[in-house]
């Protein structure tokens, strides 16, 4: 009996010390379901980064274990998985929430449990008002609007038309753009919408073309809708400057719309899309090229902005754990908030107690499509 007890005690000690020697991180990503085109590259990115990090010796000599669940884009499932990560898997931090809905669900759990949470979703509500344990890596819709309007103002446009998708992304960006447009002395003279599943948007575009004095057109949207709008725009030969949102900042957009129709389209994108065009002394150049090379070698598919969000979340988190020298959630939180000048693929992050996004407008680069390729607008 004594030997059994002793063995059990030894075994338990062995197990618990083994468990202590690893840092457990959690993730709830929408790798399947309607948001899969966002979640899938995010999940692959996280898996790839954990593998690379452990191969390089982990953080401060401790291996990282990533517990990742697929919430299918359902906020109810995301909440269950977040509970599981906190209560059952006992992770020290959570990455995830591919969409705004899933992020808001996870956020509530993370804040209750006082565990750092880095969201990969766009909406400003996630970090405004600032919540102690919640951070996010993607820039907000409002910043994309500001970047676009900044460019329009520089070009001297004062009257524009807008055609927006009615999906979450398009509708949210439409609202944000309308709220900041006046700051740039620009007036929206035509405001049209389309359903993301529509196959033809010529009616709305004709209406915009007929609006008096319209000088440029903006299309906040996501998925395949903007490609169809771009094709229709060319077919109608509207000829006015055309702006897309960061929602379609990927090579897939040029392929879907066709290089000819997409010629001259401008949009705010991240450094990741133009990795080769970045100046040698650009602080983002090394991290962007490294991630692009690794991801493309691993998956055989081109990198996109969304995988980049997951990359940056992981980078911020591991950087914070290394600096904190501890895997206590509270210490990690403090270290994340103290992050300063950390170059990611999306931008250069500097967090503070009043800013849990950490990016400014410089994170966006104004891009233009020329001959089926992305070019930087200076």
């Amino acid at each position: 009996m004594k030997t059994i007890l002793a063995t059990t005690a030894l075994l338990t000690m062995g197990l618990s010390s083994a468990a202590l020697a690893e840092i457990r991180l959690g993730a709830s990503i929408s790798a399947t379901g309607p948001a899969a085109f966002l979640g899938d590259p995010e999940a692959k990115t996280l898996e790839m980064l954990v593998e690379a990090l452990n191969a390089a010796g982990g953080i401060n000599g401790e291996d990282v274990k990533l517990v990742m669940y697929d919430d299918g884009g359902d906020p109810n499932k995301a909440r269950t998985f977040a509970t599981r990560l906190v209560e059952d898997d006992e992770v020290v931090a959570i990455i995830g929430g591919t969409s705004t809905g899933t992020s808001m669900s996870i956020l509530a759990i993370a804040e209750d449990a006082e565990i750092p949470f880095i969201s990969l979703a766009g909406a400003i509500d996630i970090i405004d008002p600032v919540k102690p344990y919640t951070f996010k890596t993607p820039h907000t819709d409002r910043m994309a609007c500001q970047k676009i309007f900044e460019d329009m103002k520089a070009q001297g446009y004062t009257k524009i038309g807008m055609i927006s998708g009615t999906d979450g992304f398009g509708a949210s960006m439409q609202a944000q753009c309308k709220s900041v447009v006046a700051d740039y002395g620009i007036e929206i003279v035509a405001d049209e919408t389309y359903d993301p599943k529509d196959a033809d948007m010529t009616a709305q575009l004709t209406k915009i073309r007929n609006a008096p004095g319209v000088q440029a057109v903006l299309n906040p949207g996501f998925g395949q809708g903007p490609s169809i709008v771009t094709r229709n725009y060319k077919q109608l030969d509207i000829g006015l400057p055309f702006y897309q949102s960061h929602g379609v900042a990927s090579d897939g957009f040029i392929q879907l719309a066709g290089a000819e129709a997409a010629e001259g389209v401008r949009l705010p994108g991240t450094a990741l899309l133009v990795a080769d065009l970045l100046a040698e002394d650009d602080v983002q150049k090394p991290v962007v090229t490294a991630y692009k090379a690794a991801f493309e070698a691993k998956t055989g598919t081109p990198v996109g902005t969304f995988g980049g969000y997951a990359h940056d979340a992981f980078l911020i988190l591991t950087d914070a754990i290394a600096r904190a020298g501890s895997s206590e959630p509270a210490a990690i939180r403090d270290a994340i908030e103290a992050t300063s000048g950390l170059a990611g693929t999306t931008g250069v992050y500097t967090f503070s107690s009043t800013d849990h996004l950490g990016l400014d407008l410089s994170a966006f680069r104004m891009l233009e499509i020329r001959g089926g390729k992305w070019t930087l607008v200076e």
Binding site: D70, D74, N76, V86, D88, M104, A175
Partner: protein, 318 residues
């Protein structure tokens, strides 16, 4: 003394709810349990509609959506207490079911399925598109119910997970009790007669149209309450709760477990709530496994899992 099936069902259910927490290794299991009970409530409604009255609905998530959004909207816009919002949601669901039920329930089979499907999708579309009111696809926050704080005031401190586990369990017990009472009542017998043969039921003087409508309204209230409980425990709601997939889930749970029996349907809800949690390792195959289970049950255990298995055991006893 021989126990009636009703008492037996309720005792089994109560014992399961009360005793399983002793085996929970962590707080996460309370969350899964609470979800199971919420689904169980909706599925009990399906038993009344489909199991008793023999009518199908592919749109009950629409009523869950109404219940859920009542808890989100009424407190924010009219300052109503969340507990009253649950009742308001149930009332709106009942009225809507009453108004659309009469024309819809004239249809049979596939046509009834498609009409109810349309109803559910309409509710989801309204929730998605009325952005200024519902927050659109991004969803909106739901206020705290406040009951947990009240219990704390009385000296009963429960964690969030524990509270929702026992609260939803209690509501499920009440729901099951009502459904079982209905089964044995004259109305329940009339419903079952209607299920057996509408023509025969009519010839013995049963008001078929009224009864179908009653079953539809009652099951809508069950769905609405389950939606409310889901919204209140999540403290956040998106239009997914009213989505097509949620409707299908409800029907699948009921049919899988055994749509003719309350305990069987709740058992089905349990399986379909737990499977995705167990199958996280094979998340990519989850849909496939669920489909396979469904097909096998349909072919080999046509009454649903629980009733078929119970019959087998009883057969051996005799």
């Amino acid at each position: 003394m021989k126990m009636t099936p009703k008492t037996a069902t309720l005792l089994v259910l109560a014992a399961l709810i009360a005793l399983t927490p002793f085996f929970f290794p962590s707080g996460y299991y309370y969350r899964v349990g609470a979800l199971l009970f919420v689904n169980g409530i909706a599925v009990t409604g399906m038993v009344i509609l489909t199991g008793y009255a023999g009518q199908i609905s592919l749109g009950h998530a629409g009523f869950a959506g109404i219940g859920a959004y009542a808890c989100a909207l009424a407190p924010v816009h009219w300052g109503l207490h969340p507990a009253l919002a649950v009742i308001l949601g149930a009332a709106i669901s009942a009225i809507l079911a009453f108004l659309v039920g009469r024309p819809i329930l004239r249809l049979k089979g596939y046509y009834l399925g498609v009409a109810t499907l349309g109803l559910g999708i309409l509710v989801a579309m309204v929730l998605n598109n009325e952005r200024q009111l519902t927050g659109g696809p991004d969803g909106m926050a739901v206020p705290e119910l406040g009951l947990r704080a009240l219990l704390k005031g009385w000296g009963l401190t429960l964690s969030n997970g524990e509270f929702w586990y026992f609260f939803c369990g209690l509501v499920l017990l009440v729901g099951a009790w009502l459904a079982l009472n209905l089964y044995a009542s004259p109305t329940g017998r009339a419903l079952r007669a209607l299920h057996g043969s509408e023509v025969a039921a009519r010839t013995v003087g049963i008001d078929v149209a009224r009864l179908k409508l009653q079953a539809f309204v009652i099951s809508a209230v069950y769905a609405s309450v389950s939606g409310s409980l889901l919204a209140l425990q999540n403290k956040f709601v998106t239009p997914d709760v009213a989505g097509f997939m949620h409707s299908i889930e409800m029907v699948t749970m009921a049919v899988l477990g055994g749509v003719g029996s309350v305990l069987g349907a709740i058992f089905g809800a349990g399986i379909l709530t737990l499977l995705p949690q167990v199958l996280t390792v094979f998340a990519e195959y989850e849909q496939m496994v669920l489909g396979l289970v469904m097909v096998l049950v349909m072919i080999f255990l046509r009454e649903g899992l629980l009733p078929s298995v119970l019959r087998k055991f009883r057969g051996k006893d005799e």
